[in-house]
Amino acid sequence: MEQKSLIKKITGSREALLFCILIALGVVVTILNPTFFSPTNIAQIFRNNAIIMIMAVGMFCVMLTAGIDISITSTLAFSGMSIGMLQKHDIVQSTLLMFLIAMGIGCIAGFLNGLIISKGKVAPIICTMGFMYIWRGMAYVVGNSSWASGEDVSQFAKFGKDGTAGPYIILIVVYGLFFVLMKWTKFGRKIYAVGSNAEAARVSGINVDNVLISAYTIMGLMAGLAGALSVSIYASAQPNMQYGKEMDVIAACVIGGVSMSGGRGTIVGTFLGALILAIVAKALPLVNVPSIAQNTVKGVIILVVVIVNVVSQRMIDKQNLERREM
């Protein structure tokens, strides 16, 4: 009886399922290449994917409202280039200020997205597509065909240096904060409510526009933070930073069980989804899969996960129907 409920729990909860997949993945890779399971490797997985993971938090909020934001890596590049240039030209050198400036830029970008999407009733993908071009272009414009290199940002890069705790602390803080925020506070539940049924939310007195704007602003904030972190970790700022990675962020959320139609998903799921992608990226070179095949593997994983999800849901539905007495 107890065993049955355990199985049910695992199949019933997306997070538990993902966790099992994660463990299985870890075990398989470790068997194939024992060096995988080492503290440095694990630490590197988090550090190298901190940027994707942080943006996944923002994307999670946006997708909860049934939206999407494909402008995030452009926002990241714009904020990253901005602080890179500020350092290059020796205008600002304080690490804290750098983070604040990058996050400020991200906030503004996110706010604009939210404003246009909520007040202008524009489809999220279209609005953010426009800003995808705009911010990426602006990143080139502020850089004026140059980039910030290791020496320009050497002071700032100390924060994200391999072996320092900076990126991990940011990761823990962001995930901890949002775990509480989304699950235990009114604000978080409002985001869920709007994504689940915007009309009902409006009728019950939730200001839907404000919730949308805050969700996109959070996304922007996270993209800005990721921009600063990216400059710090890679000790360089280039206008084509993280190009195309928005799809990885979306993929992480989707694998983590965040529904594109809104209202469903958890921060833990998002984290596990991002982690699975990160482990795959890390493991492939270690298990001698040519890195050229990495993209294909990633694509297959995305499709398999979402299809398995649908199929298992159908099976559960069917079982429920069969159990129904007539």
Partner: protein, 390 residues
């Protein structure tokens, strides 16, 4: 009806906004506009680089108009328009090439058009070149993103009477008149292999971290390294364990470097013949305090952090050519092509201002090439001097 009037109004406003937007931005982009009158900042910045391989030499004396007068070396480009198409926008290395190119052409009285494609893709370059054909420029110098893919477009340009030369990254022989090569392929391969030999102490494992798998230059250099190593027993104790590709993305390059480290605990040296890869790898090695050493091809400004003889630095020395000089030589050869001094045939010679005389040699692909010179070595002694140049 009023609603309809409104939509017209709005679209008119949109057009107006567009007009003003374009007006403003075309002003901002005046660097590439024909009437560019800036010369002082570019020239002074380029001055230290005007000297060739020996950096300590007479840098200061060659500034400004002086340099220009010398640079022309009889080459006259007045009234002609020269275009340069780099690999992509927002890349410091490319900007340096443009700088050198501009300096020479403007000194010779010609007009420069700079095209920076929006992304490092072939179709962005095709678009740029097509636009240049429309504008009726006299010459196009292109750093190709793909060896063969520009052929149709460049043939069209040549058919329209435009002189085409490649530089930095080769196009195939059919789609160019000549190619300005930063360094001979064999030479680069030899230099890198010798560096690996030196750093490993003559034996042990080494790995290569390259750019994208289709990068023409990197592939040629890596092939050269392999064939030299095979052909000479001196290198028999060196073992190339893997060629990894970081796609010229910092994140992926970082991942790949870390993977190399955990996969091959006995690794001694990583050789990264690409500017993005080398700096990403340098950071990984230095941050981890790894004993693995790094060499390769990198921009001094990017790599200054990491170059040093002690164990606190990951890269004892590395190589590169001077991208400013590469741009200048591309400019000189373009002028020579336009003026008919050379046709692109092997054996042609021309004078590249103060850079001296160059001869077109066989590139081994039925086309000709002009080789800038051997790669230059950056070590702890000279890096401080060069990091501000490019």
């Amino acid at each position: 009806m009023k609603r309809k009037a409104l939509s017209v109004l709005l679209s008119a406003a949109m057009t107006a906004a567009l007009l003003s937007g374009c007006g403003g931005s075309s002003g901002a982009a005046s660097e590439s506009a024909p009437a560019a009158s800036e010369s002082a900042p570019a020239a002074s910045e380029a001055a230290p680089a005007a000297s060739e391989a020996a950096p300590a030499a007479d840098a200061a004396s060659e500034a400004g108009a002086d340099a220009a007068a010398q640079a022309t070396g009889g080459a006259d480009a007045s009234g002609k328009t020269f275009a340069i198409v780099v690999k992509s926008a927002g890349n410091a290395y490319n900007t340096k090439e443009e700088e050198g190119f501009k300096e020479v052409i403007e000194a010779a009285g010609g007009t420069v058009v700079v095209k920076e494609p929006e992304a490092a893709t072939v179709d962005a370059q095709i678009t740029a070149i097509q636009s240049l054909i429309s504008q009726g420029v006299d010459s196009i110098s292109v750093a190709a993103n793909d060896e063969n893919a520009l052929q149709a477009t460049l043939e069209e340009a040549m058919a329209a009477g435009i002189k085409v030369n490649g530089f930095d990254s080769k196009t195939n022989a059919d789609s160019r008149m000549t190619f300005v090569n930063q360094a001979g392929t064999q030479e680069v391969g030899q230099t890198l292999l010798d560096a690996v030999y030196d750093l490993t102490g003559g034996e042990g494992q080494y790995a290569i971290l390259s750019a994208t798998s289709q990068a023409t230059n990197q592939n040629a250099w890596i092939d050269a390294m392999k064939s030299i190593a095979e052909g000479d027993s001196k290198y028999s104790k060196l073992e190339l364990v893997e060629v990894a590709y970081g796609d010229d993305e910092p994140q992926k390059s970082t991942d790949q470097t870390q993977a190399l480290l955990s996969k091959y605990p006995d690794l001694k040296v990583i050789c990264a013949p690409t500017t993005v890869g080398v700096s990403a790898a340098a950071k990984v090695l230095q941050d981890q305090g790894s004993s693995v050493k790094l060499t390769g091809l990198g921009l001094p400004s990017e790599m200054a952090e990491y170059i040093g003889a002690d164990d606190a630095h990951s890269c004892p020395y590395m190589f590169l050519w001077n991208p400013i000089d590469l741009g200048r030589l591309a400019a000189y050869s373009a002028i020579a092509l336009v003026n008919g001094d050379i046709t692109g045939a092997v054996g042609d010679t021309f004078t590249a201002g103060d850079m001296g005389d160059y001869t077109l040699t066989d590139a081994g692909d039925n086309g000709s090439e002009i080789i800038l010179g051997p790669p230059f070595k950056f070590d702890p002694d000279n890096i401080a001097e060069w990091k501000d140049v490019y």
